[in-house]
Symmetry: C3
Subunit: 348 residues, 3 copies
């Protein structure tokens, strides 16, 4: 367990110490749980109100925050600073447990010495595994796979033939990388002829993939997840999709075949994107939206089909009034007919 | 195989026998499948019409049901009574097969004598496993897990480090309990810094969880599924969610981080609930709805964003008429302008 | 590797060769990737424009296509023809690797000689496995399962007790077949009593099932997937559902209990269908729709709740104008009142 002074922690995050900068801290925790030797973090006024009842030994607080009698580190972004400090406390040297005797390794593999491959792991033929890789039990690796340094594959992950992982990729349990894309040709008699899916999935550095996600291999070429992308649970990524750097795909989002996403795109939970589109850099789709058109850089959309988020918000707010609007419209129609009649009488 | 009289079955469910109460019954089956030694059940008039063509030896029928010449058990709720009788026929003593030699058990585990742990199961270190627990092949249990008495984990379930199961918890295949929550801090340059997820998942007694479900561990503290909750397939439960007693989460529903559900909440299929909300006791969200606000006790909502279900139903019914309404509105506008013109002429 | 003349390939697909019919081709690839010894395919004018920059040795082109100097096979449907030719190049005799010593086979199984069962596969008791079946690592087969000839189960698939697969069924990783249906009876005090799920799942010939799909066993009887159905990733099929021949269920679609689909039904991605419905032959539901009613043969619907797709399309197009319509309606109301007032004055 690490134990360092507030001063040292502040240095990690370019923060300013308020109060006792020699205070020794040995961990980070949530406000409700932090003990006297732990630091916690305050992100807004609401959480600041809970400081009095909190036992933490120190607080990471936002820039404008006025000190009380509790030791604090003042930073621009307490949320980010707390992540950095938490990672600092948790980081530890990789402990290589080697290859468990109950793991099954195929032929002609090149596996770094310094790995942890658990029991009941199956690795195919000609697989390359980098340094400090962890494969938990139940992981199945196909043939001709490459796994970069410092990857961590949780239990029961499947990484199928030919797929490539960069460095520091984390994959959570139950996720399938390299399943066949959904591609069939109609034979004219109602039957579906399978189109072979002979491409791969390539995943770049620093990608994290949640649990029970599916990423299909390309029909030809590559399905590609670029550097820094973070994918939540139960997301579906179809064949030949490209997801740009640092994009965020929230739980249960789905992207149909051959669609490409720029950098820092955000898809909200349960969003669907149809195939063969391009979503520009920094574009966002609200949760549950259905994106049917290309999105320009920075566009923010919502709804099914998705439109500008403000337009959608305003229209949604009116939606509940539809029955009243219909009623009003009918009454108005009658009234106008009556007026027209009366005016006609006068005119005749 | 059990074989008991209709009289004895009636006693199990506080029912009244009509006809031959000594009739011997040895099982329960659906109406289309029941044979002469089996009992079946009639829940409504529609199913009652099929009695004539049914070979069942006896029927569980609702209170008002008039007997014909077939032996019946009359009860308040035939659906409930049939479940109780079916469970009675199927219940049998636990047969402990012990720990299969091809299972891998970690260090310092405490495992009851009376368990069935199949081949190709991996159990981590310091795991506690109660009596009459079944772990099917492919199950992976992390370190420091506790599994209460009478739990049943189907094949290929993953239960990650530190998670706690109460008693009589059933988990179906492919489900992942204890994957990391989806939490990142932005670094100001478009990159996402992982926030460590150091909490656990705690699941109380009598919970059943479907297949390929994901329940993320808490960032800090616990994600909590309370007693009697029933979760369907492919449901997503994010970090720090609390699901209250006896709630029902239907297939493909998703709940975002830190949202809490009261008792007996029902989320319809493919429903999404955003984070940091509270859904009151007994509240319900219709299938496919998107809940963006807190719900009061007993509230019933639908739509995206979700509103009162009646309001949503009425508005949805009008939705298809929007094009006609727009047309009418335009015509009316013209007509009113024309009338105003004619009136102006008259006035001038 | 096969190497055949253009002439021979044309014969496979009833095509007409344009140019050098003796040209030797040894594979098929996408336009961007095809080399000189490979054939590729052109499906529309847009892709035809890319022919000049393409290195492929030959092209599969549509009927009306005018030849340039490149060798072509002209066919009615290049998409279908390319699938057939690609499958021809990839097909190879089954190589039976037998049963890996680290697979666990139960008692009284009947397994054909000619199979490939990988390491870390668990097969239950009384299982029947046909010829040329492949079970990849991590597959778990329950008791009393039957798997027909030429099935391929990818890694980490679960096929639970009693389920039946026809011939040539492909199941992708993480998929669960035979999990319990979601059925409970309310006990009047808020608790849910499990209804035993004692049926099976029956899957007919030539079905393909994507990754992380869930297909629940019937409460009684069978959940049934008929011949030629193709199911994408993360689809949910509840107990007692019947999916008719050659239907297509796109990613993340869900079908509630006891609903039956006719032949060649198409459910778009993220579609939901409520229980106890019938969707007629050839009916289609657009992505993200919520189907709450029976569909007639050939019906095409969209929206939540789903209505005729044209009606939905038109209404959706108007949706964004709702705020303006409300504003217009209010102004019109005022104007009409004013007109009525003026007319009243004149009349008085």
């Amino acid at each position: 367990m690490k134990a360092v002074s507030l001063q040292e922690l502040a240095r990690l995050v370019n923060g300013e110490v308020i109060g006792d900068d020699g205070r020794i801290i040995s961990g980070l925790n949530g406000m409700d749980l932090a003990g006297e030797e732990e630091i916690t973090f305050v992100t807004d006024k609401k959480s600041a109100l809970r400081m009095a009842g909190c036992r933490a030994g120190a607080f990471i607080v936002p820039a404008g925050f006025e000190s009380d009698d509790r030791p604090c580190i003042r930073v621009g972004d307490p949320y980010l600073a707390s992540a950095i400090i938490h990672l600092f406390f948790l980081e530890k040297p990789f402990e290589a447990a080697g290859i468990h005797p109950a793991a099954h390794i195929g032929r002609e593999c090149r596996i770094a010495d310094e790995v942890t491959i658990g029991p009941l792991v199956a690795v195919g033929d000609r697989v390359v595994i980098g340094k400090r890789v962890t494969l938990k039990p139940g992981v199945v690796i196909g043939d001709d796979v490459v796994i970069g340094d410092d990857c961590f594959l949780h239990a029961n992950v499947t990484l199928a033939d030919g797929c490539l992982l960069g460095r520091r990729v984390i994959v959570h349990s139950g996720t399938v990388i390299g399943s066949d894309g959904y591609g069939y040709a109609a034979d004219g008699e109602g039957n579906h002829i399978k189109r072979p899916q002979v491409g791969i999935v390539r995943i770049d550095d620093d990608v994290e993939i949640g649990a029970n996600v599916c990423i299909d291999r390309a029909a030809f070429g590559e399905t590609r997840i670029k550097r820094g992308v973070k994918i939540d649970n139960l997301v579906q990524i179809a064949h030949n999709v490209v997801v740009g750097e640092n994009s965020l795909l929230v739980a249960m989002a789905g992207i149909a075949g051959s669609t490409t996403l720029g950098r820092n795109v955000v898809l909200g939970a349960q969003t669907g994107v149809t195939g063969h589109l391009h979503l520009g850099d920094g574009s966002m789709a609200a949760g549950k939206s259905g994106v049917h058109t290309n999105l320009k850089k920075g566009a923010v959309v919502g709804g099914i089909p998705a439109v500008d988020i403000k337009v959608w918000g305003r229209a949604s707010a009116v939606f509940s009034r539809l029955p009243q609007m219909l009623k009003d419209l009918r009454q108005l129609k009658k009234k106008v007919e009556m007026l027209a009649g009366r005016l006609g009488e006068k005119e005749s």
